[in-house]
C-alpha cells in the first residue's frame, strides 16, 4: 500500500513567510578550517569530486579552487586524495570564547538544537576523554624463572571455541563420550562485530565477510538481514535477531553459524534505532525485507522480551528454529548491573554472552546517549566474568567483549580479564578507511563506508578492503602471540581470566578491586 502524506492545512491562519522559513539561521562557527596552499594546488578538481559535503568548488571567475569551510566535517578525504598535498584540514582556529564549563561543543550543540528542536545525532564511538582503562593496565612478561617462548619458532595456539562448555565431560576409550553443545572453531579470538548492511555499504560488508572467511573467524550481519549474495559466507556468519526483526526468517536463521539476539549496543544502551528511509535502497530493502524508502525502525525493547523468562523463550525459539544446531548469543550493552543481567542471560540458556562497552561504535545515535550512557567495557567485562565465576556458571558461556578494542594489547588485556574473544567493529572500519568524522548518520560518508549512495559506496573496493582487514587481524594475531610468548604462555586458553598477568597503574583501589587486578609493583 502506498501511503500518501496528509497535509494539515489550516485555512483560518493567514500565510506568513519569514526569512527563517526559507533558511536555517545558523549561529554556528565552522568546526574546521580548510587551508589550501595555492602554490601547490594544480586545480585538478579531485577535491571537488571527492567531497560529498560540497566543501570545495571552482570559482570560474577567478579560475581558482575555493572552499566553504562551514560544510567541512573533517573527514580528510580531500586532503588524502589531493595529489599535491595542497589541502590541510585543521580545527577552526576561530573558536567560541574559551570557557571552563561551556565548551565550544556545548555551544554548538545548543545552537544546533535551538535551530531545529531535534535530538543531536552523531556516529561512531564516544569521543569523550573518559578514562580508557586498557591504558592503565600493564601486561606481565617472563624473566629467567619461567622462560618466554618465541612464537616464530614454537607453536602458539590462538584457536578459540565459541559455545557453551559442559561442567564435565565423559571420555570413553580415549574419545569424548558426552554430547557437546554446538561449538564453533575460530582461528583467533577476534570476531567482526555487528554492523548492518544499511549502516554500511554493500562493499564493506562483503569485504568483512570475505576477510572473516579468509581468516577463519566470524562476522556479524547486525540487524539488517542477510543480503542474498552473502549466503555464500554462511560458515562465517553470525546473524542477528533484534527488535526490528529485519530480514529474520527461517532461511536466514539457518544460514548462520551462530544466531545473536541483540538486546543492546554499547554506543546507545536502552534505545532503539532508526535507519532513515532514504538509506533504504532497493538492495537494503531486499536484505531487510521492508519496502524501499520506509524508515527501518528498531524499537528500544524487543516486544517479546520484557523479562529474563521472555529472553529464555526467544533463545529457545531460536534453538528450535535452528534445530539446536548453532549456538545462540545474547548481546547486551555494558550497563551498571551488567553482571546480574549476564548471570540471567546464562541462566536463560544462552551459549554466548556478548558485552558491548560504551566506547563501541554506531552508525547513528543521539549524542547525549552515546557520550553519557553505559560503562567502560573493562569494568563490565571484569564484573561479568567475576559474577559468573562466583556463581559457578562461567563455563556455560563464551564471553565476547567489544566496544573500543583498538589494538592487540587491548585484546590480550580483555582475555586476561576474562573474555574468550573480542568483537572488533570500529577498528575494522578504520582499516577500511574510516577517519572517525562521526557523520555516519548523514549517509554521505566520503570514504564510501557508511553510505548507500552508489557514487560514494564505490569508493570501497571490497578486494582492497578485505586485504586490509586480513592484514590487520593477522598483524594483531602476531602481536598477541608475541605477548603470549613473552608471558611464557603458548595458548590463548591459558591466558583466559588470568588476571594475575595484569597490573594497574594510576587506579584507585576500588577500580583495582573491580578489575580484580593488583596495582603495579605488587
Amino acid at each position: 500500500m502506498k501511503i500518501e502524506e496528509h497535509q494539515n492545512n489550516n485555512p483560518s491562519k493567514p500565510a506568513q513567510r519569514k526569512a527563517s522559513d526559507f533558511k536555517i539561521r545558523s549561529n554556528r562557527l565552522s568546526e574546521f578550517a580548510v587551508q589550501r596552499d595555492y602554490d601547490r594546488c594544480i586545480k585538478c578538481e579531485v577535491c571537488i569530486k571527492q567531497c560529498s559535503f560540497d566543501v570545495h568548488y571552482r570559482d570560474e571567475e577567478d579560475d581558482l579552487i575555493k572552499h566553504r569551510p562551514e560544510n567541512c566535517v573533517g573527514c580528510h578525504r580531500c586532503a588524502v586524495m589531493c595529489p599535491t598535498a595542497a589541502i590541510s584540514i585543521t580545527p577552526n582556529p576561530a573558536q567560541y570564547r574559551a570557557h571552563g564549563s561551556w565548551s565550544g561543543e556545548h555551544v554548538k550543540d545548543i545552537n544546533r538544537q535551538a535551530e531545529t528542536g531535534g535530538v543531536v545525532l552523531t556516529g561512531s564511538g564516544n569521543d569523550k576523554a573518559a578514562p580508557v582503562y586498557w591504558d592503565r593496565m600493564l601486561i606481565n612478561a617472563s624473566q629467567v624463572t619461567n622462560p618466554s617462548i618465541d612464537p616464530l619458532r614454537e607453536p602458539m595456539e590462538l584457536r578459540t571455541y565459541i559455545g557453551a562448555k559442559p561442567a564435565s565431560v565423559k571420555v570413553k576409550d580415549g574419545k569424548l563420550a558426552s554430547e557437546m553443545p554446538p561449538q564453533i572453531k575460530i582461528q583467533m579470538p577476534i570476531l567482526f562485530s555487528a554492523i548492518s548492511y544499511g549502516a554500511i555499504s554493500y562493499n564493506v560488508q562483503k569485504a568483512i565477510a570475505e576477510a572473516a572467511e579468509e581468516l577463519g573467524t566470524l562476522y556479524n550481519t547486525g540487524e539488517g538481514g542477510l543480503h542474498p549474495d552473502f549466503y555464500k559466507y554462511k560458515d562465517n556468519t553470525i546473524v542477528q535477531v533484534a527488535s526490528g526483526r529485519f530480514g529474520v526468517h527461517p532461511d536466514y536463521l539457518n544460514a548462520a553459524r551462530m544466531v545473536e539476539i541483540k538486546i543492546g549496543q554499547g554506543a546507545k544502551p536502552g534505545i532503539g534505532g532508526h535507519l532513515a528511509g532514504e538509506k533504504v535502497s532497493e538492495s537494503v530493502s531486499i536484505t531487510r525485507m521492508i519496502p524501499m524508502g520506509t524508515d527501518a525502525i528498531s524499537p528500544a525493547p524487543q516486544h517479546d522480551i520484557y523479562s529474563i523468562e521472555d529472553l529464555r523463550m526467544l533463545i529457545f525459539a531460536l534453538k528450535e528454529a535452528t534445530n539446536y544446531r548453532v549456538p545462540v548469543s545474547v548481546k547486551i550493552a555494558a550497563v551498571h548491573n551488567a553482571a546480574a543481567i549476564a548471570s540471567g542471560i546464562v541462566r536463560a540458556g544462552a551459549d554466548v554472552v556478548a558485552i558491548d562497552g560504551f566506547r563501541g561504535g554506531t552508525g547513528a545515535a543521539p549524542k547525549a546517549i552515546r557520550d553519557n550512557v553505559g560503562l567502560p567495557i573493562e569494568f563490565a567485562l571484569a564484573a561479568v566474568d567475576q559474577r559468573l565465576r562466583d556463581e559457578g556458571i562461567r563455563n556455560q558461556v563464551t564471553l565476547i567483549s567489544g566496544g573500543g578494542i583498538r589494538c592487540a594489547a587491548d585484546i590480550v588485556k580483555a582475555i586476561a580479564l576474562g573474555a574468550d574473544a573480542v568483537y572488533i567493529g570500529t577498528a575494522a572500519l578504520i582499516a577500511v578507511g574510516c577517519t572517525l568524522c562521526q557523520k555516519c548518520y548523514s549517509g554521505k560518508c566520503n570514504w564510501g563506508i557508511a553510505t548507500q549512495n552508489p557514487y560514494l559506496a564505490k569508493r570501497v573496493n571490497s578486494e582492497i578492503a578485505k586485504n586490509r582487514l586480513v592484514n590487520l587481524v593477522q598483524g594483531w594475531s602476531h602481536e598477541i602471540k608475541e605477548m603470549l610468548g613473552g608471558m611464557g604462555i603458548n595458548s590463548i586458553e591459558s591466558l583466559k581470566g588470568s588476571r594475575s598477568q595484569l597490573r594497574g597503574v594510576g587506579l584507585t583501589s576500588e577500580e583495582l578491586d573491580i578489575l580484580g587486578i593488583r596495582p603495579a609493583g605488587m
Binding site: 601547490r40 594544480i42 586545480k43 585538478c44 578538481e45 579531485v46 569530486k49 571527492q50 586524495m81 595529489p83 599535491t84 564510501g448 549512495n453 552508489p454 557514487y455 564505490k458 569508493r459 573496493n461 578486494e463 582492497i464
Partner: protein, 178 residues
Amino acid sequence: MWRIRAIPEVCIGCGLCRVWCKVEHSDSKNIHKAFKPNAPETISCVELEESGCESFAMQCRQCDEPLCAYGCITGAMTKDPDTGLVTVDKKKCVGCWTCILMCPNGVIKRDERNGRSAIKCDLCKDRGFPSCVEHCPNDALVIEESPMNPLAAHSAPLSGSSRGDENILFSEEVDDDE
C-alpha cells in the same frame, strides 16, 4: 604484452589517472611544474568517462587489430611485434588525425605542442609502469598481462613462424579469445 583495463565497478571518478597521465606526458614530469599556470599545455591520454554514478577510465587498449595503425597514412602508428605496444612515431606523424577518426574508443589525442602529432597511451614505457595504474586509489585500473598473439603483430618479422589456426578480426565467425 600489457594492456590497461578499467574496472568500472570500483572506479570512483576522482580523475587522478588523468592528473598523473598529464604529469607523465609533460616535459618536466613533475606535477607542480606540469600544472604551473604558464607551463605548456599538458595532455592526458586517459579519458575519464562519467555518467551519473558510473565512471571508468579509458586509455588505449593496445588492440590486437589496431585500426588506428591500419588507418595511419604515414606509417607513424605501428604495433610493436615484440611488446604489443601501439606507438606513434612523432617524427613521422603529420597530424592528419585519421587515427583519431579510426579509434573506436576515442583515446587518441592531438598534441600540438611541438609540431602536430598524435599522442596516445604508451603504457609509460619510459617510466617502467603505467602511472595511472600506479596512482589509481581504488585499483579501478589494472594491468592485464597476456601473451602476445602472433597474429596480432602489425608487422611481424620473418622469423616468427608459429602458425595458429584461429580466425581473427573482421570475421563474423570469430570467437573472441576471452
